[in-house]
């Protein structure tokens, strides 16, 4: 089964997010600590998750220009939505959209689910809890990691990264 993914590329690692969860993606130069983004004349709460990815996966950003990913609050748990709203001090707009940003490059790619591999049994549960769902090795020295942004953001709030 072919599925469309949004691929966020860092050096030697790509993060894959199912495209169905991405409302829009665009490049925009902005401060990492900016708490809001204007999109479609709405002010969206904004989190920069690039630091979390770079810090935890030992990867290096490939450009200074941020990529904004617009997502729907319905795809996040209510506790995470409350945390985002509290942290950014921005209420969710009527559309229910929120913005996550990273400093990678993005592209759209179609992949068969058969090409992705679940993490080894012993670490699978822990990885899944932290938003790491599967992995793929497209070539030697490179890896693609399927992430669940809702769980990764939850980790963002539970960690000491704020």
């Amino acid at each position: 089964m072919l599925k469309q993914f949004t691929c966020i590329s860092y050096n030697r690692i790509d993060f894959l997010v199912p495209s169905e969860y991405i409302v829009a993606g665009f490049y925009q130069h902005m401060q990492d600590d900016a708490r809001s983004v204007i999109y479609n004349r709405e002010t969206l709460p904004h989190l920069h998750i690039g630091y979390l990815l770079e810090h935890e996966f030992y990867c290096k950003k490939v450009n200074e220009v941020g990529v904004i990913l617009v997502m729907k609050m319905q795809d996040f748990s209510s506790s995470v939505c409350v945390a985002i709203s509290d942290f950014t001090e921005i209420a969710f707009p009527a559309s229910g959209f929120l913005a996550l940003s990273i400093n990678g490059e993005i592209r759209s790619t179609a992949l068969s689910c058969n090409e992705l591999h679940l993490m080894p049994h012993g670490i699978r549960e822990k990885m899944a809890e932290c938003g790491i769902s599967a992995v793929r090795f497209p070539e030697e020295g490179n890896r693609q990691v399927l992430i669940a942004p809702d769980l990764l953001v939850r980790k963002f709030f539970s960690g000491a990264l704020l």
């Binding site: 996966f57 290096k60 080894p120 012993g122 670490i123 549960e125 822990k126 090795f137 020295g141």
Partner: protein, 204 residues
């Protein structure tokens, strides 16, 4: 005409083969750091060399990451950090020193490293002794141990194995020792590594 005799000989031969196979164990003797250890060869599925280890976050320090085993991810355990307290302490200190140096470098505005810390590039480091991996023969997980070297195979009679009784928690990675030229080599338990992983990660 001779069917019965042939059948009887065949049964006898099979029984002897089974008896022989049951009485002897082949051990894979390997080193981790400067110490020698043994695994029953039936516990080892494969030996892999020169693979990149990809670090993953949110895992205990004794997990180096995963390797790409022909497309399938396989967890890499650094047993040195579980078996050798001194090494574990040194590794912890090294990690702190490395983080401090990294922070200082960032504060001084030095350039970040170009390469991610693929661990086999840090040869000689106590936390990453080599790029040699023993893939354990498990049906419930994809698990390998990072080891220093493969030394030899050694076959012994079952009676040459000294089981450890009253094992403490610290000893639980060992199931016993095997005699080799008047020395005793600790035998590791592949189950213990899996259990430790599941205990620490809260896996079912």
């Amino acid at each position: 005409m001779n069917e019965e005799i042939v059948k009887a000989i065949n049964e006898k031969t099979t029984q002897e083969e089974e008896k022989t196979a049951d009485d002897f164990v082949t051990w894979l003797i390997f080193s981790i750091g400067t110490e020698r250890y043994a695994f029953a060869s039936s516990d080892v599925q494969e030996i892999i060399r020169d693979m990149d280890v990809y670090p993953f976050p949110f895992l205990p320090s004794y997990i180096d990451g995963i390797i790409n085993r022909r497309g399938d991810p396989c967890t890499v355990i650094n047993p040195l950090l579980l078996l050798n307290k001194e090494a574990a302490t040194a590794a912890a200190e090294e990690k702190v020193a490395s983080q401090t140096a990294s922070t200082e470098a960032e504060e001084n505005g030095e350039e970040e490293r170009d390469e991610p810390p693929v661990l086999n590039k840090k040869k000689g480091s106590i936390t990453s002794p080599s790029s040699l991996f023993l893939v354990l023969n498990r049906s419930d997980d994809q698990l390998c141990l990072r080891i220093s070297d493969i030394l030899f195979f050694h076959e012994t009679h079952k009676s040459d194995i000294h089981s450890i009784s009253n094992a403490t928690v610290e000893d639980s990675f060992y199931v016993g020792t095997v005699d080799y030229h008047h020395s005793e080599i600790p035998v590791l338990s592949s189950d213990a590594f899996e259990l430790r992983l599941r205990k620490d990660l809260g896996s079912a």
